[in-house]
C-alpha cells in the first residue's frame, strides 16, 4: 500500500517535470506580456515534430534530433515573436487570447498540411527500464527529471543574476518605466518568448520517446494541462510554477490510481478552482515575480 503510494508520487514527479518545463515558459511569457499564450503547446508539438523528422527522414541520432527539434522551434518562435508577440506589448487581454489562438491554428494546421495529418510513431530515446528503489522506470524519465532540475536551477540563476533576467523582471513589473530607463522592451519580449518556446520544444523532444505518438494536434492537450499550473504557480512566478507542476503531477497520478483514469484531465482545473476559492492569487505570492 505504502509502496504503491510512493510509486505514484514518483510517477507524479516525473509527469510534473514535463509540465513544469512547458509551464515555466508560458508563465515567463505571461510575465512580460500579460498575455496567456494559448499557442504554447504548439511549440511542444513543433519540437517533437522536428525531432521526429530528423530521425525518420534525416537519419540522425536521438541526441542530434533534440538539437534539431529545439533549433527549428527557435526559428519558428523568432518569426512568430517578431511578427506577432512583439506587437502584443500593452495590448488588452482579449487581443492576446485571439492572437495566440490564431497562431495555434496556423502552426497546428501547417504541420498537418506539410507532414500529413496521420499519427506518427517516435522511435528514438532511451526507453529501456531501470530499477531504482524498487521502482521500474524508463531511463528517459530519469533524464526528464534531471533536465527539469537543471532548467529550473539555470532559470533561477538567470533571472536573479543575468542582465536578461533582470530586464525580464523589470518588464514584468512596469513596462513604461523600462522604457524610461532604456530597456529595450520589444527585445526582452522577443527573447523571453523564444526562451519559453525553446523550453516547450525541449520538453516535447524529451517526452517523445515515452509518449510515442506524434501528431499535429498534440499541442492542444499540453496547453490545457499547463494553463492551471501557471495560475496556481502565481502568474510569472518561476519557482511557484515548479511546485505547482509537481503538485499537479502528483495529484493526477493519485487520482488516476485511486479514482479513475477518466478523471485525470479534470484534476488540473478542479484543483485550480478549489485553490482559487481559497487563495485567489495563486499558491505562491505574486509579489515575487520570477
Amino acid at each position: 500500500m505504502f509502496s504503491t503510494i510512493l510509486e505514484q508520487i514518483v510517477n507524479g514527479i516525473v509527469t510534473g517535470s514535463v509540465y513544469a518545463i512547458v509551464a515555466v515558459g508560458m508563465t515567463m511569457i505571461f510575465g512580460v506580456l500579460r498575455a496567456i499564450n494559448f499557442a504554447h503547446g504548439e511549440y511542444y508539438m513543433l519540437g517533437t515534430f522536428g525531432a521526429w523528422f530528423s530521425i525518420d527522414y534525416l537519419g540522425l541520432s536521438y541526441e542530434a534530433s533534440i538539437v534539431v527539434g529545439v533549433l527549428s522551434t527557435i526559428v519558428v518562435a523568432y518569426v512568430v515573436g517578431k511578427l506577432v508577440m512583439q506587437r502584443m506589448v500593452g495590448a488588452p487581454a482579449e487581443s492576446g487570447v485571439l492572437a495566440t489562438l490564431g497562431i495555434a491554428l496556423v502552426l497546428q494546421n501547417t504541420v498537418i498540411l506539410v507532414f500529413g495529418g496521420g499519427y506518427k510513431f517516435f522511435s528514438g530515446g532511451y526507453i529501456e527500464p531501470v530499477s531504482i528503489l524498487g521502482f521500474s522506470l524508463a531511463q528517459q524519465r530519469i533524464l526528464i527529471l534531471v533536465v527539469c532540475l537543471l532548467v529550473f536551477v539555470g532559470l533561477e540563476l538567470m533571472v536573479t543574476y543575468s542582465r536578461m533576467g533582470k530586464s525580464m523582471r523589470a518588464v514584468s513589473q512596469n513596462v513604461d518605466c523600462c522604457e524610461v530607463v532604456g530597456i529595450d522592451v520589444p527585445q526582452v519580449v522577443l527573447r523571453t518568448f523564444i526562451l519559453g518556446a525553446a523550453l516547450a520544444a525541449l520538453s516535447g523532444v524529451l517526452t517523445a520517446p515515452v509518449n510515442v505518438s506524434v501528431y499535429g494536434g498534440m499541442g492542444e492537450l499540453i496547453t490545457f494541462k499547463t494553463l492551471p499550473i501557471i495560475i496556481m504557480g502565481g502568474l510569472g512566478n518561476v519557482r511557484g510554477t515548479f511546485f505547482a507542476a509537481m503538485i499537479l503531477g502528483i495529484a493526477e497520478s493519485l487520482v488516476a490510481t485511486y479514482v479513475g483514469l477518466q478523471f485525470r484531465d479534470t484534476v488540473g482545473f478542479a484543483t485550480l478552482i478549489l485553490m482559487l476559492m481559497w487563495r485567489p492569487h495563486g499558491l505562491f505570492s505574486t509579489q515575487a515575480r520570477f
Binding site: 495590448a91 492551471p228 479534470t266 478552482i273 482559487l276 485567489p280
Partner: protein, 328 residues
C-alpha cells in the same frame, strides 16, 4: 458611444428605418434567395448568436472575459435534449427550461468565480467547460455518457387544435430567426435600461462605479447569470436543430467561437454581435473551398482581426449607421 454622439447632429435624410426594413426583408427572404446550404449556415449563425449575445453582456458591457459560455451552452443542450428524449416535452418548454437551468447553475458557479480577477477568472471559467465535459461523460445514469443523446425530435407546436412540426431547413430558419430577433431585442432592452448604463460603468471603472453606489458585485453576478441564460437557450436550439448532443458539446472550441464572434463583431455593441456571427459563419464556410488550408487561413484571419481591427467591426458599423442616419 452613440449615447453621446447622437445628441446634437445636423440631420440629413434619416434612412435608418427604411434600411432596417430592407434588412428585415432580406432576412425573411433569405431562404428563398440562397440554397438550403446558405439557409443552414444562417441557422448556425443564429444559434451561435444567442450565446454570443450573452457573452457580449459580460465582455462588452461589464468587462469580464469569460470562456464559460460553452459550459452553459452544453448545459442548455443537455437540458433540452434530455427533456425532449425522456419526457417528450414540447420545444418551447425545453427552450425555457434550458435557459432557466443554465441560469440557475450559473449562480453557484458565479459566486466564487466572480471574486477572481482577469486571468484567474478566465481560467476558472475555462475550468467550468472542462469539468462540464467530465460530468457529461461520467454521470452516465443521467447524461448517458459518451453515447450521448440522439434523435432529439424536431420542434413541435401544439396550440389547441392547431399543431405543426417545424421540419426542414426553411422552417427551422424562421424559428431560429424569431428566437434570434427576440434575443436581440432582449439584449437591447437590457442595455438601454438604467442597469445597462451601470454595467458600462463597471466596465469602465469598477472602483469608481462602486463608489457612486452601484452594487457592482450583484450586477456582475446577475449579468453572469443572464449570459448563461442566453447560452442555455442557444444550446436548446442547437440540440433541436442538430438532433444530437454529446459530451463534446462542452468544448473550448465553442467558447472561443463565441468569443471570436463578440470580439470580431465589436464587443459592447449589439449590431457587432449580429454582424460578427454572420461574419464568422460566412468566413468559416467560405474557407471550405480549400479544405487543406481552411484552418490556417482562419488562424491568419484571427491575427488580422487583432492587428487591424482591435475594436472589431463595430466602429465601421457605427459609422455606416450614422451616415445612414443622416449624421454629418
Amino acid at each position: 458611444m452613440s449615447l453621446t454622439e447622437t445628441a446634437q447632429q445636423i440631420r440629413r435624410r434619416d434612412l435608418r428605418i427604411p434600411l432596417g426594413a430592407v434588412l428585415l426583408v432580406i432576412a425573411l427572404a433569405a431562404p428563398f434567395i440562397g440554397s438550403r446550404y446558405v439557409t443552414h449556415s444562417l441557422i448556425i449563425a443564429l444559434i451561435f448568436m444567442l450565446p454570443a449575445h450573452g457573452l457580449n453582456l459580460l465582455v462588452g458591457y461589464t468587462g469580464l472575459l469569460s470562456l464559460a459560455q460553452a459550459a452553459f451552452f452544453g448545459i442548455g443542450a443537455y437540458t433540452a435534449g434530455l427533456l425532449a428524449v425522456t419526457y417528450g416535452t414540447p420545444f418551447y418548454v425545453n427552450l425555457l427550461a434550458a435557459g432557466l437551468v443554465a441560469g440557475a447553475i450559473a449562480l453557484p458557479l458565479g459566486i466564487p468565480a466572480l471574486r477572481l480577477r482577469s486571468t484567474s477568472f478566465v481560467m476558472c471559467t475555462l475550468g467550468f467547460v472542462i469539468i462540464g465535459q467530465a460530468i457529461a461523460k461520467n454521470w452516465i445514469s443521467v447524461t448517458r455518457g459518451d453515447m450521448g443523446l440522439s434523435s432529439i425530435p424536431k420542434p413541435h407546436f401544439a396550440l389547441g387544435p392547431l399543431s405543426f412540426t417545424v421540419s426542414g431547413t426553411m422552417g427551422f430558419y424562421y424559428l431560429a430567426l424569431a428566437i434570434g430577433v427576440l434575443a436581440t431585442l432582449a439584449v437591447w432592452a437590457i442595455v438601454r435600461s438604467p442597469a445597462g448604463r451601470n454595467m458600462i460603468a463597471i466596465r469602465e471603472n469598477e472602483t469608481l462605479a462602486e463608489s457612486v453606489g452601484i452594487p457592482t458585485w450583484r450586477y456582475k453576478l446577475i449579468v453572469f447569470m443572464i449570459s448563461a441564460v442566453f447560452a442555455g437557450v442557444g444550446g436548446s436550439v442547437y440540440a433541436h436543430y442538430l438532433t444530437v448532443v454529446s459530451p463534446l458539446t462542452f468544448q473550448m472550441y465553442y467558447s472561443t467561437t463565441m468569443l471570436i464572434i463578440v470580439l470580431g463583431g465589436g464587443a459592447g455593441t449589439i449590431s457587432g454581435v449580429v454582424f460578427g456571427s454572420l461574419l464568422f459563419v460566412g468566413l468559416t464556410e467560405a474557407l471550405r473551398i480549400t479544405p487543406e488550408l481552411r484552418m490556417i487561413a482562419y488562424g491568419l484571419c484571427l491575427l488580422a482581426l487583432v492587428f487591424w481591427f482591435r475594436k472589431g467591426f463595430s466602429p465601421l458599423i457605427n459609422r455606416f449607421w450614422d451616415t445612414v442616419g443622416g449624421a454629418k
